[in-house]
Symmetry: C2
């Protein structure tokens, strides 16, 4: 059973992730998997905790798993699947957020070629935006790497890899 404040957190995760392209259920599921005990939960447990149908759990788990944000695991002699939020999920989430900038930049490139014949003072408006996106796009991995090495230092130089 979820406490009042836990439930509030799970619901907020649903709202925020929903406002950024995922479904509310995806946010709730990830949120719950980040705080639940035990860390591994069956579909039936998730359905009960989140007050959701089996169908919703199944579909949402598929999306989150293919995005790398949750992990599915099985146990010998147990038909059920167990879901959990692994550490890499965080990285995948950040990576997904970073991809947005590339997507935007590509669209802006197409926009620029659509107005290729316009005077420079017109084109400069879009170019400026495209340039910012291109810059951020290349910076995101650098920032993330910097975080990783900072963390490696903090936790006593574990995980230099990746």
């Amino acid at each position: 059973m979820m406490s009042e404040s836990e439930s509030r957190f799970v619901e907020e995760m649903g709202q925020i992730l929903a406002s950024y392209g995922m479904t509310p259920m995806a946010g709730r599921m990830w949120g719950w998997l980040l705080i639940c005990e035990p860390a591994e939960q069956t579909a039936a447990e998730l359905a009960e905790a989140l007050h959701a149908s089996r169908g919703a759990i199944s579909g949402t788990a598929r999306i989150l798993a293919s995005a790398g944000m949750i992990r599915r695991s099985t146990r010998r002699g147990d038909r059920r699947e167990y879901f959990s939020a692994p550490p890499e999920g965080t990285d995948q989430f950040i990576a997904g957020a970073g991809r947005v900038y590339g997507q935007l930049r590509e669209m802006l490139e197409r926009g620029l070629s659509a107005i290729a014949d316009r005077p420079p003072e017109t084109r400069v408006r879009l170019q400026e935006l495209r340039d910012v996106m291109a810059f951020i796009e290349t910076e995101v991995p650098a920032v993330f790497d910097r975080y990783l090495s900072e963390r490696a230092g903090r936790t006593g130089r574990k995980d230099i890899s990746r």
Copy 2:
């Protein structure tokens, strides 16, 4: 009249911005203002170009203007307002995107206090995510400043300010 490829760009802007929390109309309007000629457009012109009602233009312009992404200007002896996409609009857009990380971090803090009494191995899942967000939150302004100084160099050291 919009060309085929311009129309495609405008529509794509609508879709992408919509998938990131804004309305389709906001994306379309910003997109169009980034490529239209002349740069300043009246509400009536926008309504025609975007095939939208006056009401939709009014509401959307309010949102975009208060977010700092478009500018409203008036001319003496002309009741109409003119809308345009100024260079600062780009900065405001980036700033808005950056704010997301702070919002997420705050929510994660609340989540952490909701599970304050749990064992460390449970809390570490959320803490990890919170730490990444906090790091990125502080990095975003730095990245943007780096872009500004790079651009200042590129354009012959204009605009050191801001």
